[in-house]
């Protein structure tokens, strides 16, 4: 095979997407599907012959704030969507991260990209993931067929929930051409309670205590000293942070309850609205690791086991989701994967080369079933081949 640059296709309508995929399907050409292109470095598409950019499918088709739904083309830029819903006092509840700077990428993340990668920010612990907010979609399968699933209302169980399957499939099943998401009112205000100087294990316990209190903690993160001491925080101690969002009177009452629940963990401090927002922006974007050249891992584990990753790697980590999401810097792929397995989780390589697949291959019956599901949508394996290991 000649090593030539893949042909770039830039459709602007679903029909053009269909045409592009149908032609590739007929000729069995491998397609790399791209939105804003910011996450291209995560996982590798095997020898693409066609690059299909969805950036030109960027229209918002319908936004009904009173119905809490928004329908758009997948190439719509995330920042534009967030600006639009903010103008109606609403938000994307799953707090999607951009991560473009983290990945050293230019370009703007798209709505389709964040859904295809099922990326969720700190509010994941309270509001659910991207996958919980994708209500329906239209797409072109690897067979070159247009199909749709789900609906445009917030409550629907008609047919299989293929939206869940599309979210997190990294473009390996179908090319999205339209998505409908659920939006929610934006909280009026927020505040963050900080605890200082906790060891990782103790911090995870503090986060569990907070998340188990009836105060609707909307984010729980921990930065060990080695990370908290870096820019942008430049703190002198480890920092554990717990966010509350909502109406002002409610936050005041809940802060009291939360401080009471956490009284065993030492002195607490408070970040108000603006500072709180800035802090969680840094957590969401993993800012402390932007400039570090080492391979970066995204480890998903049961929250109570999160600290074990930090312990095993003896390296720099950031804990989000109460310990359930661990960003870790490490050159040692074997150690990261072993630590993740030992904690009943898994590790994805998000940046840098570590000599292993970004998405760890599945095994056994689950791998076989996954392969059959992939083949149901993309029997020739033309969509993002190799990216997810399927």
């Amino acid at each position: 095979m000649l090593d030539v640059a893949p042909r770039l296709l830039t459709p602007t309508t679903p029909d053009e997407v269909l045409e592009a995929v149908a032609e590739a399907a007929a000729k069995r050409r491998r397609i790399e599907v791209v939105g804003g292109g910011t996450k291209r470095g995560v996982g590798r598409v095997d020898r693409p012959e066609v690059t299909l950019s969805l950036a030109g499918l960027d229209a918002v088709l319908d936004y009904a704030p009173e119905e809490l739904v928004l329908t758009a083309r997948p190439g719509a830029r995330l920042k534009d969507i967030e600006k639009l819903v903010a103008s109606e006092g609403q938000m994307l509840p799953f707090e999607p991260p951009r991560l473009a700077k983290l990945l050293g990428a230019k370009g703007e993340p798209t709505l389709g990209g964040v859904l295809a990668a099922n990326l969720s920010g700190p509010r994941r612990v309270r509001a659910g993931a991207a996958r919980d907010h994708l209500l329906g979609f239209a797409a072109v399968s690897g067979r070159g067929e247009v199909f749709k699933a789900g609906g445009k209302v917030v409550k629907n169980v008609t047919g299989y929930d293929l939206s869940k399957l599309m979210a997190g499939s990294w473009g390996t099943l179908a090319v999205l051409t339209e998505v409908t998401i659920k939006v929610l009112p934006k909280p009026k205000t927020e505040a963050t309670l900080l605890i200082f100087g906790l060891e990782d294990r103790r911090a995870v316990q503090a986060m569990a205590r907070a998340l188990n209190a009836p105060v609707e903690v909307s984010a729980a993160a921990h930065l060990p000293l080695a990370v908290a001491g870096r820019a942008p925080l430049n703190a002198e101690m480890a920092v554990t942070a717990l966010r509350l969002e909502g109406f002002e009177a409610s936050i005041a009452a809940r802060l009291d309850m939360l401080a009471q629940a956490l009284r065993d963990f030492g002195r607490v401090d408070l970040l108000d609205g603006g500072l709180s927002r800035a802090f969680w922006g840094q957590i969401r974007e993993v800012e402390a690791f932007h400039k570090d050249p080492r391979p970066l891992w995204r480890v998903s584990v049961p929250p109570a086991s999160g600290w074990r990753i930090g312990e095993a790697l003896a390296g720099e980590v950031i804990y989000d989701w109460g310990g359930g999401l661990v960003w870790a810097l490490s050159e040692d792929a074997g150690a990261v994967r072993a630590a993740a397995h030992a904690a009943s989780g898994h590790a994805q390589l998000w940046r840098g080369a570590a000599g292993v697949a970004a998405f760890e291959p599945l095994t056994g019956a689950l791998a076989a079933l996954t392969g059959r599901v992939k083949a149901a949508f993309d029997p020739e394996g033309i969509l993002n081949p190799g990216r997810l290991g399927v």
Partner: protein, 495 residues
């Protein structure tokens, strides 16, 4: 309702099948006596009945696996069943298939507060999960009306909702993992106790698959801390429009209530006659708004909601002062189904979802249709998320009334789809709405879904005859290229 043509050879071989299954599940775990099969003839959609070939009640995952593998090897169909409370016929038996009853899987395996989850067997009832963790200040959020009886395995299969799902989500939003057994007997674990599993979200796919993809043998559910307080408002309005507009105003004010229910005049009258909850009989529409959280928040938001309702002309306003009063406000709504059962010999509950703004139009059309069909109708409505439950009143003893009720129901659901909504918000497609799937999905959409079915169950033995209006063979689906729904399958039987 037509079901797949029974296989005469399978029925003729009942004794042999029962003998083989008894080797896998010994003792009383296989029920084959016709009289003992009667309780399994139908589920919550009791208008439809069929006697299954046999009922198998396994006690271990190994038995489930062996039963399914044996049935696959011998071409015997399997209908999984939890408590049998499905309102769409999801557990309706097949005369040439066995019922795989999961009732004996009734253990709470582990409660893990550190990870805010509980690992339970599928036969545990929805309410039993909350009951087990209540003393420690936790609960499981999805609360279908049948929660005292329905099982978590059935909830996973149907992606069940409840009155609290506007704020807390459906079943699918409250699961972390499950163990499933495929039709070939293979045991697969999906998810775990963390937030993101590796690979495709097969947990999300299996949830709501109505027992067509796999049998669930263990479920890991998320637990939430119980809110400090809850407070309810009863709001009576002189028009459906005013009530609907108030719902819009509440959400526009940034308030997502824990529950947001509407009842129309006939439903109010039925509930009031049945239980005497103190509902305003003169109101055209009643809203029940529940707020939960810290006391300070509930008090503040109750004030907001009250003001919004007044601005829209609410002429009956009550705010619960204590827990007893809050429960009393709910009593009428929760008893709406039996209340309607008292004023009509039979009723048929529909379950479409519509964009909320369409409510006045849709209700108006429903009343017109009721006149045309000569049948009564009462409407209860999960107003926050647009999920409408018209209760069609009929008498099955009157010739043709069931058929008229079914036709009326189908017209309502078609209307829901026509205004931008969907066929079912929480009850599932089952057999009930199977033949209406074409209203929402074209041939290609359905072929994509059926290929997923093939990835799990290539011989189509698990709960066939449900959800899909046309039975395809997997080989055909793999081969045939359906282009924009233009290629039909004229040779394939339709129900």
């Amino acid at each position: 309702m037509r079901m797949p043509a029974p296989d005469a050879a399978t029925i003729a071989n009942k004794a042999g099948i029962v003998r083989a299954l008894r080797k896998i599940v010994p003792g009383e775990g296989v029920i084959a006596d016709d009289s003992a099969l009667v309780p399994y003839e139908s589920d919550g959609l009791s208008a439809y009945r069929q006697t299954p070939l046999a009922v198998v009640l396994p006690e271990t995952v190994e038995q489930v696996s062996a039963v399914l593998a044996w049935c696959q090897a011998h071409g015997v169909k399997v209908v999984p069943r939890g408590a049998g409370t499905s309102l769409s016929g999801g557990a309706l038996p097949l005369t040439d298939g066995i019922i795989l009853g999961m009732a004996k899987f009734n253990r709470i395996v582990e409660v893990d507060y550190e990870n805010r989850c509980a690992v339970v067997q599928p036969g545990v009832t929805n309410l039993a999960i909350s009951a087990a963790v209540q003393a420690d200040g936790f609960y499981y959020a999805p609360d279908p009306s049948s929660q005292i009886a329905c099982t978590i395995g059935g909830n996973v299969a149907e992606n069940s909702g409840g009155v609290h799902c506007l704020k807390y989500g459906l079943t699918t939003n409250n699961l972390l993992g499950c163990e499933i057994v495929l039709m070939d007997g293979e045991v697969v674990r999906l998810g775990g106790r963390g937030f993101d599993a590796a690979g495709y979200d097969l947990l999300g796919l299996v949830t709501g698959s109505e027992g067509l993809l796999a049998v669930v043998t263990e479920v890991t559910v998320r637990l939430l801390p119980t809110p400090q307080t809850a407070r309810a408002l009863l709001l009576g309005f002189p028009s459906v429009e005013a009530a609907g507009a108030t719902v819009g105003d509440i959400i526009a004010a940034g308030i997502i209530p824990a529950g947001l229910e509407m009842m129309d005049k006939p439903a109010i009258a039925a509930a009031e006659a049945f239980i005497g909850a103190g509902y305003p009989l003169e109101a055209e529409a009643l809203l029940i708004v529940e707020l939960d959280g810290p006391e300070a928040e509930c008090a503040e938001l109750a004030g907001h909601v009250k003001a919004l309702a007044q601005a829209r002309g609410a002429d009956f306003i009550r705010v619960s002062r204590d827990e007893a009063e809050r429960l009393a406000f709910w009593a009428g709504r929760k008893a709406a189904f039996p209340a309607v059962g008292r004023i009509s010999p039979d009723y048929y509950c529909m379950d479409g979802t519509i964009p909320r703004a369409q409510l006045p139009h849709v209700l108006g059309r429903i009343y017109e249709m009721a006149r045309d069909y000569g049948l009564g109708v009462a409407n209860v409505f999960h107003a926050g998320d647009g999920n409408l439950h018209p209760l069609i009143l009929y008498d099955a003893d009157n010739d043709g009334e069931l058929e008229r009720a079914e036709a009326f129901g189908a017209d309502i659901l078609k209307l829901c789809v026509a205004v931008g909504g969907v066929l079912t918000g929480e009850h599932g497609v089952g057999v009930e709405k199977r033949d209406l799937m074409g209203e929402m999905f074209d041939e290609t959409d359905l072929a994509c879904q059926q290929r997923v079915k093939c990835a799990f169950d290539p011989d189509g033995l698990l709960n066939p005859g449900k959800v899909f209006p046309v039975l395809h063979r997997c080989a055909e689906l793999g081969r045939v290229h359906v282009h924009r729904g233009k290629v039909a399958f004229p040779e394939i039987p339709r129900f």
